[in-house]
Symmetry: C2
Subunit: 201 residues, 2 copies
């Protein structure tokens, strides 16, 4: 809508920066906000601001943490320092924690190799990871990367980089997600699920 | 995710207040915002705040307008005061303006009658509408209401209220939306489209 008041237009253009939010959705959000209470909009404005002011990335693992606080993902008392999980997005450590299947360390390496784009993992990130591996008693590195071309290329890179250092390198199991019907999956997923089948007794 | 930092949780809970935004979408938005520049988050925070501070509803028509400025929907110079359109949502006048088919006045009456809820149009809103109709040279009132049970009940109410006052009361044409396939529509819509068919030459 071209004739919106400028104040609403600003809000719409800001919401549109969120991925998969189009013009209509952004307009809907803006009109909804107008009907919120002042208290609710103030809370949102403060929360938006706080994301930059009160959160930061951990210098060691690059996970999100409250600024000024120590990183809960790097705590040597509660975490198992013999196992380190490489993920490609800041959201992933929180998801993996939810699973309660992992108590080791994390390392976020945001840039994956891409066969289509000229995009490399920044060498400073690699150096920081290698520095951590030298200091920490890590015996196993889990590659928790996407099962895409980019994820595969990155996994291969780490495999070659880490194996000569005497570190065990593993990847998440491929297969069928919990709660899904077999007939929805592609042949490659089924192939992996069959190859990786497990004995039940 | 229960273990998110409090700062992110605040943002997630705020985004979840938007209709059709669930937990996963709200978390996605929050993580995306963390990767925005400070400039971008400040712009959004300010835009959210401005929606309450810089916008207001027009005292006459209840449309959204910039606070302190005159209402563009009530301007006696550019608007045709002989025709007034009743809508049920603050977004509707902007949508109708986009159509360029209407240059009259608007009146937003947010609450529709509902056969399922104990909800009535607040009588002060009705009084304000009747006050405007007495002051203005309105000859026709267009009911641009939803084609739902609530919309129909409200339309009937206005029809009975306004007809004795010598005002012509009209409703938007029912039919098939532009750009759609006939076979997607229900029999009631087709019935209306047939009843309201127009001679072509």
């Amino acid at each position: 809508m071209r004739i919106l008041p400028k104040t609403l237009k600003n809000l719409v253009s800001s919401f549109r920066k969120l991925s998969s939010v189009g013009q209509k959705t952004a307009e809907r959000y803006a009109f909804e906000l107008f009907e919120w209470s002042t208290q609710e909009t103030e809370f949102l404005a403060e929360a938006v601001r706080a994301v930059k002011n009160k959160l930061t990335r951990c210098d060691a693992c690059s996970c999100i943490k409250e600024a000024g606080a120590s990183c809960p993902f790097c705590d040597p008392v509660t975490r198992n320092e013999e196992i380190l999980c490489i993920v490609s997005h800041i959201k992933d450590p929180f998801l993996i924690e939810e699973s309660r299947a992992f108590k080791g360390l994390y390392h976020v390496l945001p840039n994956l190799f891409s066969p289509f784009e000229e995009k490399d993992i920044a060498s400073e990130n690699i150096q920081r990871l290698l520095g951590r591996l030298e200091k920490l008693p890590v015996k196993e590195v889990i590659l928790a990367l996407d099962t895409t071309l980019e994820g595969d290329a990155t996994a291969l890179y780490f495999q070659n980089l880490l194996r000569p250092r005497g570190v065990k390198v593993t990847r998440l199991a491929y297969g069928i997600p919990i709660g899904s019907n077999i007939h929805y999956f592609d042949s490659q997923t089924l192939h992996q699920a069959l190859s990786g089948r497990q004995v039940l007794t």
